[in-house]
């Protein structure tokens, strides 16, 4: 029995790490070849940081990176405000209104991105609106706002309804009670909604492609335009390394955050 256990453990480990390696292989290959200045992936022409300086000298790519971050942050902020207020408002609405709004909220979650993009494009064209940062922003908020709502809602359910009433009884205005009592209690839901919004927006291609103004490029649209006909441009290999490092730091931070949360919960129970 013991021996069998060890064997199955070894198999599980081998399987897990093989899958992990396979999943990361394309990205790791790009990172490996970001330290050599060949045009085509797979050729090694001596170690160099050349691609990294190429990356920072490539103005249109730098602009695309800036645009990607800009739309991600602006849309995440708008979504977080809209979605959080929406979740609070709906939570204290009557049952019938609540139900219909919740159904509406499900639509952007399950809907195909291309359908959302296409439907918004039709509306904007019908209204004769030319594509701009605003149309793009609307698209990204449509993509992300429901996820903020869905992350905030469970925190409201856990909330003790008496605290708000207590704040009112103690002389607080409803707005004050909202800011000082409800918002802090649901802050973890708001933060995770914000983070999910950012990640969805950073990764988006379809909605951006349909709703951006033609000269506005994000990382996704900039690279897609090139790679449909050519191999990945060498500077993008350097960019991938940088993204990888940032994401890795993010993973470590999230793990630490989750661990501290778990410890706090365990501590509370004991």
């Amino acid at each position: 029995m013991k021996k069998e256990n060890i064997i199955s453990k070894i198999f599980a480990k081998i399987f897990l790490y093989t899958m992990l390696l396979l999943m990361f292989l394309p990205v790791l290959t790009l990172i490996f070849f970001s330290f050599t200045e060949t045009e085509i992936l797979g050729e090694w022409d001596g170690f160099s940081f050349g691609l990294y300086s190429d990356l920072f000298n490539n103005e249109s790519l730098m602009k695309a990176i800036f645009n990607t971050l800009l739309i991600a942050f602006v849309s995440a902020i708008v979504s977080t405000i809209l979605g959080t207020l929406g979740a609070i408002g709906v939570f204290y609405s009557r049952k019938k209104a609540k139900k219909s709004i919740e159904t509406m909220t499900q639509l952007p979650v399950v809907n195909a991105e291309i359908v959302m993009a296409l439907s918004l494009a039709i509306v904007f064209s019908t209204l004769n609106l030319s594509y701009s940062f605003i149309t793009l922003l609307i698209g990204h908020v449509v993509l992300t706002v429901a996820f903020v709502y869905l992350n905030v809602k469970p925190k409201l359910v856990q909330l003790d309804p008496n605290t708000y009433e207590a704040a009112l009884d103690l002389g607080s205005s409803s707005f004050g009670a909202l800011c000082k009592v409800i918002i802090p209690e649901i802050s973890s839901g708001i933060i995770s909604g914000f983070i999910i919004s950012i990640t969805l927006s950073l990764d988006d291609f379809v909605i951006t492609q349909y709703l951006k103004e033609p000269s506005f490029e994000t990382i996704s649209t900039y690279i897609q335009k090139i790679v449909v006909k050519h191999p990945i441009p060498p500077e993008v290999r350097a960019l991938t390394s940088l993204i990888f490092v940032v994401v890795m730091i993010g993973v470590i931070l999230v793990t630490i955050y989750n661990n501290s949360l778990a410890n706090k919960n365990n501590g509370g129970k004991k």
Partner: protein, 261 residues
């Protein structure tokens, strides 16, 4: 007027109605009108009378089914091992499996293509294989996520009880573990199936436009400024989404799904 908390939902509701509900109604309108704006079933006829259209839909369904199955077959054991304390105790390993989703997907997809071409699996001549690989690469994390959260919740004593009562490994798998994790399996399947059908960037890049999925097809007609026909196909897409939502609703009751934080 006195402030009431429910008023806070007003901007949210206006936004949803204006930019989610009304646009979908526009799709319905264009799907069932002709170019002159009159009510007609022209698009319905056009879609079902041309074999190419049906073929694209069927091929997309086949890709979506295979992608879902392969992702589940790979993702299920991964999620099981990750969630099982006997094999894995570090939460960071789970995060690493989810991490690819945070790297820009156009970069990941084109990296997969360039890697495959480099090692001799040509995207030009083996388009269907490379497209499949690209789809699995992209959707595997989305399968692991809900499966892992479901697996964490299951009571492992029930598996031991199954062994103690004389069941062998495969009986325990099919009669105990899979039924217990069914909600996770279904939400994983819905996270792969519909998005595959409507995806188009992955197949465009990984097949050099040889494999045309339904999403690409909608994109193609829309870019030719044929809104009516494009809208009708978007309408078909919406119907398929509705069906899949109803199926998953039915079996998903009580399952909360996964989140990153």
């Amino acid at each position: 007027m006195k402030f009431k908390r429910k008023f806070l939902a007003i901007p949210y509701v206006i936004f949803l109605v204006g930019f989610v509900i009304i646009p979908v109604l526009f799709i319905f309108y264009y799907a069932f009108t002709n170019k002159a704006g009159q009510f007609s079933f022209e698009n319905v006829e056009k879609f079902f009378s041309d074999e190419t259209n049906i073929n694209v839909l069927l091929i997309s369904l086949v890709y979506a089914i295979f992608n879902t199955l392969i992702c589940l077959l790979l993702g299920y054991p991964i999620a099981y091992i990750l969630a099982n304390k006997k094999y894995n105790r570090s939460p960071i390993l789970y995060m690493l499996f989810i991490m690819p989703t945070w790297i820009n997907f156009v970069i990941r997809t084109s990296a997969t293509r360039d890697l495959l071409n480099w090692i001799g699996i040509s995207t030009g001549s083996m388009s269907s294989i490379t497209t499949m690989i690209g789809l699995v690469y992209n959707y595997l994390p989305f399968v692991i996520l809900p499966l892992y959260t479901t697996m964490l919740k299951i009571d492992t004593y029930q598996l031991e009880a199954s062994y103690d009562l004389g069941a062998n490994k495969s009986t325990t798998l099919f009669k105990v573990l899979i039924p217990m994790t069914l909600p996770g399996i279904i939400s994983a399947a819905t996270m792969v199936f519909m998005p595959t059908l409507s995806s188009y960037v992955i197949s465009d890049i990984l097949s050099e436009f040889n494999v045309v999925l339904f999403g690409s097809y909608i994109d193609l007609y829309f870019n030719q400024a044929n809104w009516n026909f494009g809208s009708f196909m978007a309408f078909i897409m919406l119907c398929l989404i509705l069906v899949s939502v109803l199926i998953s609703r039915k079996s998903e009751k009580g399952n909360e799904g996964g989140s990153v934080l």
